[in-house]
């Protein structure tokens, strides 16, 4: 189905359809297969305990496991992010840095594009302002799921509106559709190959190993919402009134 879709798009582009029309047809006529990031795990786990440093399945646990499949195997190119991840550093205007290998201390960047998912992510900073790494917010502002819905349950705090509105008004990296990520987008960014923090710090510097809110309220308890801890990359639920960090995201084509 994916190749059929791509063929159709190629035909439409060749026929000089506008991009908007192509996009519309793409969305209405075909199923959209979204790409998942791999986990970043490039090493084998033994049984019942112990880990290897490489993906060589041990005698104690010989069957295929995480490290044997996925982008971490098929696209393991360390030049654009750990293992199967593929990132591009963007300046504050959304222009890719000419030297993608530069470190943050030499030249800063404001956003990172995930070339697998297509999402663009905010990079936290150490300078004063709305993007500072230590800014925290209670859950529930602009783009929180269910905000304004007639059946919405529990309290929605608007603390992070200053971050969302501020990023849109400054058109951070050229975009004005910033939002708080879904739980799957957020865990998708995590690199489970490491921890403290569980993220590729070559692309996401200034990431504190702490909770980062998702846009998702917890269905099981309207006192809580879903959060990802970037110490280990695990998702769980926290009371909405707890102040935690937020990393904004935006989707292509919106």
């Amino acid at each position: 189905m994916q190749s059929k879709t791509m063929t159709m798009i190629a035909i439409l582009v060749l026929a000089n359809f506008s991009y908007a029309q192509t996009d519309l047809i793409f969305k209405t006529s075909f199923e959209f297969v979204s790409k998942l990031n791999d986990t970043g795990i490039t090493w084998s786990g033994e049984y019942p305990s112990g880990d290897l440093t490489e993906c060589t399945n041990p005698a104690s646990n010989p069957s295929p496991q995480d490290c044997n499949t996925g982008r971490d195997v098929t696209h393991n190119d360390g030049s654009d992010g750990h293992a199967g991840f593929s990132f591009t550093k963007l300046d504050a205007n959304g222009v890719p840095l000419v030297d993608q290998s530069v470190d943050y201390g030499t030249q800063t960047w404001a956003c990172v594009r995930d070339n697998v998912t297509g999402l663009v992510w905010e990079v936290k900073t150490t300078t004063a302002g709305i993007h500072h790494q230590d800014n925290t917010y209670r859950w529930g502002g602009i783009t929180a799921i269910g905000l304004g819905h007639p059946d919405a349950e529990g309290t929605y705090y608007d603390d992070w509106d200053v971050l969302v509105n501020g990023s849109n008004s400054e058109t951070l990296c050229g975009f004005d559709n910033w939002r708080v990520p879904t739980i799957d987008e957020l865990t998708g960014l995590a690199n489970y190959g490491t921890f403290n923090p569980a993220i590729d710090t070559d692309y996401f510097p200034n990431t504190v190993s702490s909770g980062f809110w998702s846009s998702l309220p917890f269905a099981g308890n309207d006192y809580a919402a879903s959060i990802v801890h970037f110490g280990g990359g695990n998702g769980y639920n926290d009371p909405r009134g707890i102040s935690s960090r937020v990393r904004l995201v935006r989707s292509p084509g919106q």
Partner: protein, 174 residues
């Protein structure tokens, strides 16, 4: 007296089962896991589910269960190694490339608008409120591997020698 106790017991069992089996979904949380996202296919009696959003193909039933409503058989409890071994040996619906999903893949079938269980029960019937293994060892503890709790959708890790449930996956076209 004995009869009354028996009746009370029967009533309790019925009532508690109804409570346990009752899935709750919230209308204010966007349903990104509707029936229309999935295709259920019967291949010579083997039921598989294709997730049109991720492209992944899943076994409709948790390991140990079968039938169109996954009510036949006994739910398997497996260690992490047993889960990986079963996947490696699996031949189902004409495919031999079944595997235990990694943690990010496993999360994609969590229906976060619902709990008890947090999954589309039309597409994945009779899914227990229980822990399901991922194929992913966890970096923070070399005795554990990643898991997802389908009672409410959060994740964590569990000892590799402990018991977990398994739902197998494959990547069509790879």
């Amino acid at each position: 007296m004995k009869k009354i106790i028996n009746l009370a017991l029967i009533y309790f069992l019925l009532f508690s089962q109804i409570v346990l089996a009752q899935q709750t979904c919230k209308t204010y949380i966007t349903d990104e896991w509707p029936d229309s996202r999935y295709t259920v296919t019967d291949i010579s009696g083997d039921h598989v589910v294709t997730d049109k959003q991720t492209g992944l193909m899943w076994k409709q039933c948790s390991e140990g269960l079968s039938g169109s409503d996954c009510s036949v058989g006994t739910l398997a409890s497996l260690t992490w190694k047993e889960a990986l071994d079963i996947a490696d040996a699996e031949d189902f619906a004409g495919f031999a490339d079944w595997r235990v999903p990694n943690q990010k893949e496993l999360r994609t079938i969590v229906a976060r608008n619902c709990y008890s269980p947090s999954i589309n029960t039309n597409v994945f019937p009779n899914t227990p409120n229980d822990w399901f293994w991922a194929s992913s060892p966890i970096a923070t503890n070399d005795s554990n591997a990643w898991i997802v709790y389908f009672g409410s959708g959060y994740d964590g890790s569990s000892g590799r020698g402990g018991d977990g449930r398994v739902r197998l996956v494959r990547s069509p076209g790879q």
